[in-house]
Amino acid sequence: MFDVYEIRKQFPVLGRLINGKPNTFLDTGASAQKPQCVIDKMLKVYSEDYANVHRGSYLLSEEITLEYEKARKIVQKFINTKSDKEIVFTRNATESINLVAAAWGRKFLKKGDEILISEAEHHANLIPWQQVRDETGCTLKIFKIADDGSFIWDEFAKLLREKTKLVAVTAMSNVLGTIFPIKKMAQAAHNVGALFLTDACQFAVHHQIDVQDMDCDFLAFSGHKTYGPSGIGVLYGKYDILEKMPPYQCGGDMVDHVSYEKTTFAEPPARFEAGTPAIVQAIGLGEALNFMMNLGMDNITAHEKELTKYATEKLSEIEDLVQIGTAKDKGGVFSFVLKSVHPQDMAFILDKEGVALRIGHHCAEPLVHRMGYESVARATLGLYNTKEDIDRLVKAIEKAKTFF
């Protein structure tokens, strides 16, 4: 049984009073809070088990190398890859996408080729491709979404053609909550001979992922959003594609043989993990993903789906509130504005009421502008949120309105 009130007890920070009020944390979309098991695990590793990985010929190093590689196997299970060699540890999803842009994009894209992305991308899945475009002379195409944030198949299909070499699309928009039909899109991309990358940063927090079923070629997500530590992210890549990619950064731990004349590089994933990695963070991430899998991804999805319905209804009852992103297929991301109150002003009041949410363009400036705004407020759900959190949000918004 998924008992959210029991689960909340495992997140110590949720018990902290904020400005004397209950901690109403609605910014998981930016970064999630950490359960005690992740905190304990990392503390234990630092206290009792720490050494560098892949180096030492001594017990501690051997043990921690096993732990680090075990974390990779947990990620393998979490997104169901064929092999753990298809999992590259990075700093975050941003680095994962930059890695593909730098290593795959620069090598395989040229003038005349096209990259296709959506209007709903986070800067992390937009700017790396602009850079690759400027460096290689390829073209960046952007397919439109509907005014309510819905995905429109025809807009996507219209721009997908022989010239398309890569489709890079978010699995779930960080501003609109829209869930994109990744499996169908990947299939369509493959039909024209393009590779398919998905930014699963938001999606992975709420849904079961099966990369073999989705058949995507690359998938990126961040550890800090999936209840793990910051400083660790994941890039999944199909092995035969990773194998053809040159290194992203060079240094220790990513080589096969080095002389002053020539260096040969290690096989993936080591080829892409230059230098000492984020060892304890990777182990912490493994713990966080196990935590999610033990709760059951389907249970998490079901809990948040019910809460999404509740929040949508409650927010729609607030006079003067406009919800941005109301696609039928959407997850627990609520962007909104009040007609009479600036998001910054509202955030000042919400903060005093213990409500944490984010305002601004959410690292998706062109998207927020496209929806017709300079700045929007955004509340996002995590597995620990309750209907009471939504009630407190609504009450705080109503209070904010009395000030202006």
């Binding site: 998001p343 002003d345 000042f348 005093k352």
Partner: protein
Amino acid sequence: MTIEDLIENFELLEDWEDKYRYLIDLGAKLEHMPEKYYTEDWKVRGCQSQVWLVPKKEDNKFYFVGDSDAAIVKGIIYIVLTIFNGLTAEEIKNVDINNIFTRLGLNEHLSPSRRNGLSSMTEKILYYANIL
């Protein structure tokens, strides 16, 4: 009104709600700037709302006008202008903004480390004081 007057007024206000309401009132007193100033050139970066700040130097003293699209931020601008208007570059450099906001009783609500525009505004004022 001088900054000392403002400090006295804020002292009379007990809770954050009254303080915020007073800030909003102060912001409403800001005069609308000439339209030509509402451009990218005069924008202060690093704020979560739009903030414009325009400097003028007369007899070695600085005078600023400013505006924002957020009401509480306008109140912050009002205070910032009250602090800095009429000061020389040297005097501007010596202003202890943290201390003033503590005396206003606003530091715990609107500390310069938060992205409410206060630190970006004061940095911009220091920048103008250095180059003009």
